[in-house]
Symmetry: C2
Subunit: 442 residues, 2 copies
């Protein structure tokens, strides 16, 4: 007896042997993959409570979004086509009035969007993270949550104390039936004091927490850090002994050849968010160079306030094409390598490579089922090409997290879609009013 | 009495005044918009055969794709991550065995994809164009079709004669109840002789045809043209007296400041395809510079063999973000300007600005209805931002061309979706076998 059987699918395992199983079957019990192989070999072995027919569909590991700010879905479209110097103060102005109810509202909206575009695990960095944890529990998603800590700039919500990020991490570790993991969340080198960062390093070492921070995100940051410390962001963090394999550095755009070597040597994980810095006119991280040096690079969407989407499939496409332009070479970052970023590399970034990122016996049953019988993915013949260049989030038919079906045939079972949308629209209006801003249809 | 009334929508007219009508209504009769305004003012004036409720939806002009090769949907995913020197011979090898049945099959698949992503008019350039015209007639789409002419390279299907492109243009002008317009289709300066191009110019002048060609698409092209003519592509075409307001130059990537001035002065239209040359590692056309000089720039997807999508919404997003990166300035190409490219500018490129591109009384009823009650476009408050940065083709709910509903609530009424997908998959297999190629799942 198993809880769930997914049969007749084209199973993309993303295991080390790059195994694909045609007419494949995945058997799930107590949240884990207990068997997988050819349907004809597996289906007779078990009785299943629920059977999903994945015929003409790809069965793949759920995507992993390693850098986002879930509740910022509420900011979507508010500050487009503006310079960072106009962008950031606006965000901070709105955020300084943020309530925990609003964070919860935005987190539910983000959770809906993640599920509907095939992400099963996300790594979040924001305020009032208890509210995000609540949304994770209700949505059925898996998440790594970090309570943000900004000491030197940014909004003051009374949470910018070391104790907040540490206490949250301790209290919520393993929450939502083990689906919540917690990280420490210093915002960045330029927004937190050296002293605090050293304390965070100590806590991380002692309590075995990972650290999620922004790193080398803008030229402006690098200049500020150089002025203060006489070094670049990566150099300074390295000098402080901060860089270890438990560090997740989001963005990492402005890093030199030598700094890439440091990231590789210290086994720092880079959460690469392709679109945000393109749309912000900032730059492109040297990703092929990092991969070449052996840096673990995973994918993220960043927040919907800047990107404006949490659909990792759009980021797969952008990641795959933008470096071909940068290098003037279309062989750069082939589709499969980008797919690894959003699955196995993502798992490694989050320290979860033993549990998620690929479909293998004994791993957690975080699975997406993607339709390939649609005009825009026809003819269907190559999986990486289809998933990276043609598929959109809306092609994801069914989503399973921890062995539970959270979306079936595009219907999210764990959340009330229409209610959440209405509430988010109302919440947005309030936020804008509180900040004394105006919006216009055009 | 009117044929169709679309009511309660948020009507984005894209007219010169940038009018938006809240709770708007569009009345359609005999393929044309006969009235539009507030629903409460319009709906009492007419009885309608069919009423569409566009509540919580944007009612917008159908998108216009000004450069594609529709039947190349059959090549989707076949030649990704490869250098042009490997890419082009592969394409030509397959194309040299192409049958008219295959072109028809690919055209139907492409038509499905266009409709399902909100494009109502496309401008096509390929072989066996009678077959594409047939697909246009059946699908209900509007199109400008050009029979391709390659004399000096490329596949030989027995159609590379001046008479073919001219005869097709004459014979199919006004076909499909006026929904087909025909252009002359010289492939490019480097692939057609100077003599033939001069004859094409003469025919165009005499018969009042527009000309659709590839222009300044690669460095390789520019070098070849320079070697042959001692000039760049735009310079040489200009010297020949070829450049006039009836020319549609696809791509136009490698153009100097001075050449942009020539394009502006000669009122040449540029069909800009953002993704293909990024994915091919070729470059980015200087679009903001062209707009600055007054060049009319419209949007295209190119063929799905290179892009790999015909979804113009993805190109809207790419067009809007990539120049922000190029200019390191997020104020570059704001969302509304990109929306203009895919609507009013597209109409101008095709010489159809009096008929399509905006929703105005007397214009043709080419209308799309786009859902904005979905998690990934919430909160909804700004139309250009939503359509350019968040919307995907799958958000288009209903498509109307020439006053006829061709898709209602995501169901295409004019074409048999499943049958076309199956046939396209079979066609693809045959094509690959004929070319002695192999495909692999990964």
């Amino acid at each position: 007896m198993v809880d769930l059987m997914i049969k007749n699918g084209l199973v993309l395992t993303m295991n080390k042997e790059r195994l694909i199983i045609k007419d494949g079957c995945v058997a799930v019990e107590e949240g884990k993959i207990v068997d997988l192989g050819k349907t004809k070999e597996i289906e007779g072995k078990y009785k299943a409570d629920e059977v999903i027919n994945a015929s003409e569909k790809i069965v793949a590991p759920g995507l992993i979004n390693t850098h986002t700010h879930l509740s910022m879905t509420l900011f979507r479209g508010l500050i487009d086509d503006k310079k960072p110097k106009d962008w950031l103060p606006t965000v901070w102005k709105i955020e300084s009035n943020l309530t925990r109810e609003e964070v919860y509202c935005g987190a539910l909206l983000g959770a809906l969007e993640l599920i509907k575009s095939g992400t099963t695990t996300f790594s979040d960095h924001y305020f009032f993270m208890e509210e995000v944890a609540k949304a994770v529990r209700e949505s059925g998603l898996r998440a790594c949550l970090a309570q943000a800590l900004l000491e030197l700039m940014g909004p003051d919500l009374g949470q910018n104390k070391l104790s907040y990020t540490v206490d949250f991490a301790k209290k919520f570790r393993g929450a939502a039936g083990g689906r919540v993991e917690t990280f420490l969340g210093p915002h960045a080198l330029y927004s937190v004091t050296e002293e605090t960062l050293k304390k965070i390093r100590e806590v991380a070492d002692k309590e075995n927490f990972r650290i999620h921070l922004h790193m080398a995100e803008s030229k402006w940051e690098i200049e500020m850090v150089k002025e203060k410390y006489g070094k670049t962001t990566v150099e300074k963090l390295n000098e402080m002994g901060f860089l270890k394999p438990d560090v997740v550095g989001a963005h990492s755009i402005f890093v030199s050849e030598n700094e890439i070597k440091i990231l590789a040597e210290k086994r720092v994980n880079v959460a690469y968010c392709p679109t945000t810095p393109i749309k912000a006119g900032v730059g492109v991280a040297p990703i092929p160079e990092m991969l070449q040096e052996g840096v673990n690079v995973s994918l993220g969407t960043d927040g919907a306030g800047s990107n404006n989407t949490l659909d990792l499939f759009r980021e797969l496409r952008m990641a795959a094409v933008i470096h071909k332009l940068r290098k003037l070479n279309p062989e750069t970052l082939p589709a499969f390598q980008v797919l690894e970023m959003a699955t196995v590399n993502g798992a490694k970034t989050l320290g979860m490579e033993k549990g998620i990122g690929s479909l293998e016996k004994g791993k957690k049953a975080d699975v997406i089922i993607v339709d390939f019988k649609k005009p825009h993915v026809t003819p269907f013949h190559n999986i990486p090409s289809t998933l990276v260049y043609s598929t959109v989030g809306g092609d994801v038919d069914t989503v399973i997290v921890d062995g539970k079906v959270v979306m079936r045939e595009r219907k999210v079972l764990t959340l009330k879609e229409e209610e959440i949308i209405d509430k988010a629209n109302a919440c947005f209006k309030e936020l804008v009013e509180k900040a004394g801003m105006e919006t216009k249809l055009m």
